[in-house]
Amino acid sequence: MSSHVINYDLDPSKRVPLVAGNNDFKSVTDIICAPVEQPAPSWWWIATAASGSVLLLLLSMLGYLFWEGIGIWGLNNPVAWGFDIVNLVFWVGIGHAGTLISAILFLFRQKWRTSINRFSEAMTLFAVICALIFPAVHTGRPWVDYFLLPIPNSMAIWPNFRSPLLWDLFAFTTYFTVSLLFWYVGLIPDLATLRDRAKTKTRKVVYGLFALGWRGANRHWQNYEKAYMILAALAAPLVLSVHSIVSFDFATSQLPGWHTTIFPPYFVAGAVFSGFAMVISLMVIARELFGMKDLVTMYHLECMNKVILATGSIVGYAYGMEFFVAWYSGNEYEAFAFINRAFGPYAWAYWIMISCNVISPQFFWFKKLRTSIPVMFIISIFVNIGMWFERFVIVMTLHRDFLPSSWGYFRPTWVDLSTLVGSFGLFFTLFLLFLKFLPMVAMAEVKGVMPAANPHLGHHGEGH
């Protein structure tokens, strides 16, 4: 241990080191490769079995749905949109942290992203997969999904290009494709590392195949950096576009409570908010179990918590703005929609949303709380719950439409609930497979932000 401890909070001229402990390149590689190379620990088998069985629950619910039709869901006449769209928006939102961290933080040169980007990009992909299930099955007839695609067909029926639901299809597939490419490009050098370290033939061949013949040559790195920059630039607007288009699903309507101009940026902020919360929930556990505390330090977690606080405040601003303008507009229907949200039959959901999304992140104002593992874990779970309820509250605006005689109440059926739970099974199964088979931290990038990678590193060594 070095004798002089720098308090980075008190010395603005120093920057917090992004890799803690006495690590060099070799030890970083060892730490990150360990979970992939060593036999899976018993908890991994238990967790995978558990989430696999929850995944089976999802599959059986989908099977039941295809067999029986959407009558098994809780939808009713005023509430024609139910859990499927809530879950869709929830999962897509979770999928926003990855691209924000990889693209926008990259463009803003936030170097702390290197320890968490791989992890959250993987999370993004899996969350988008979960999300895509819901629109694909929401009619209960997945075999006619090809109607969504603008392909010439013998029936001469085209999708309605003016429908935001169709834009969703384009937005999601673009987002998924670019995120996948981005993630994969970033993985290539690390896959090559795994290939070079492989002890068995199979590993060598499989990792070698996906490493695309990477040798770490100067020219490879040059192309890599260029590709990464271009993908980051392409992915940055996608961070905004996907959730903006999701918000259009609601905001292009004429429904009070749905139709409001602030929806696009408000949804994007909410998505980033929930995505970061999910990263915190998972990272707090993963760094503990895999011994990655030197790579994902308290500083990283604190930065993420600050982003949660900031985006949570933007979400709070949007809630407030909606409420204010609902009153300011002098439009009684608009005002009713909001008063009904807060004090109507779904007031319970509204206040869950407010407490989880607006009140709970406020604890992060205090350094002590935002650097406490249990506190941040609990708050991140609250934020996830709150963001699910936000979409629920928005969708449930439907339950009291313009005709009081048709007012109703939506109750999810056991199938609705099991499908939601099941989607977590899919997410966690994919995630656990990722943790086992791919390096969860971007080795090459983390090394790039270590002092040893700095060509101007002084002649004075660190204390030995």
Partner: protein, 394 residues
Amino acid sequence: MVERTEKLTGFLADKLPKILLLMGTLSLAFCAVSYGANPRQVLFSYMTAFIFFLALTLGSLFFILIHFLTRAGWSVILRRIAETLMNNIGLMAILFLPIAFFGMHELYHWTHAEAINDVILQKKAGYLNIKFFFVRAVIFFGIWFWLARVFYNNSVAQDATGDHSHTLKLQKYATFGVILFALTLTFSVIDWVMSMTPHWYSTMFGVYYFAISTVLSLCVITILAMTLRRAGFLKNEITVEHYHDMGKLVYGFNIFWTYIAFSQYFLIWYANIPEETIWFREHFMGSWNAVAVFLVLGHFVVPFLGFMSRHVKRNLIAHFVVVCWMVFITIVDLYWIIMPNFSPEGIEISLLDFAAFMGIGGLYFGLYFLRLRKHALFPKKDPRLEESLHFHNV
């Protein structure tokens, strides 16, 4: 350590402020004289100029807040230029007085006696009434003035002592400062601009003005830095790397502006509800329609294509042309937002439009250079100054 020119001297420090102040006073005097003949024109021209310079001041305040909030290093060298802009908020408060004393009736028809018979305006009377309007104005300026003073004074004080505690204090203030900023900016623009069409509402309006002010202030900070460079100041300190980064921010925030402006328009167009579309109908009347199309091209297409390249951002002449264009197009944007309330049939450019801009602008930049020469041109003992000086784009 290299010797650096710290203080502004010469033409920019001595002659220019006098010229600007004289120009400003004369132009405003011209506005005042014309007030008798054409009060409406004077007030609307003045208001447009006022909102423009307010956007510049608030955008600079945001630049400073975000600088401390994110503990930025690269932008330290540019900070004094922005701080001095931000510090003009006191002048803006004084310039608001003519609007408060003479402008209410002409600018805001919710103040008229007939408003009593307007059902919708009656519902809003709890918010849109003169007394509360003034109370809010005092609160907005109070908060901005206080924030600007705290940030400016601490920054200047650090020049003498180099004490880190100033940086730490401002980092703390930036957190709640940015929240106060968001709320005051939103409600001030609702009061001063959105309520000119008092029936109309849009939850995005505050964000729209925020986008305008951010792009504008980034451009003006760049222009000022280049002006100083031209006069031989901070030539080796503010390098092409800093301009490149400022260019990226201008580019990014301009796309953000487009995103916000488009979303607001698009959602209103798509839902097609009369009480919302009315605003765009008024802003698409006659030749205003041509202005709207010009904005799409000039505010989005041209900079989007023209400013994308790294070479343009790193070529200071090309960069200068682009940011000047952005300032111009921001004026067009604000003119398009405000002036259709004055001349609904179409654009009517008046000499008074120019006089108001030159008036407020003259006082604004006259005072700016007077203040800039008082202290060092950059925060010379900022703990992150070295980081800023040695900063390189990858």
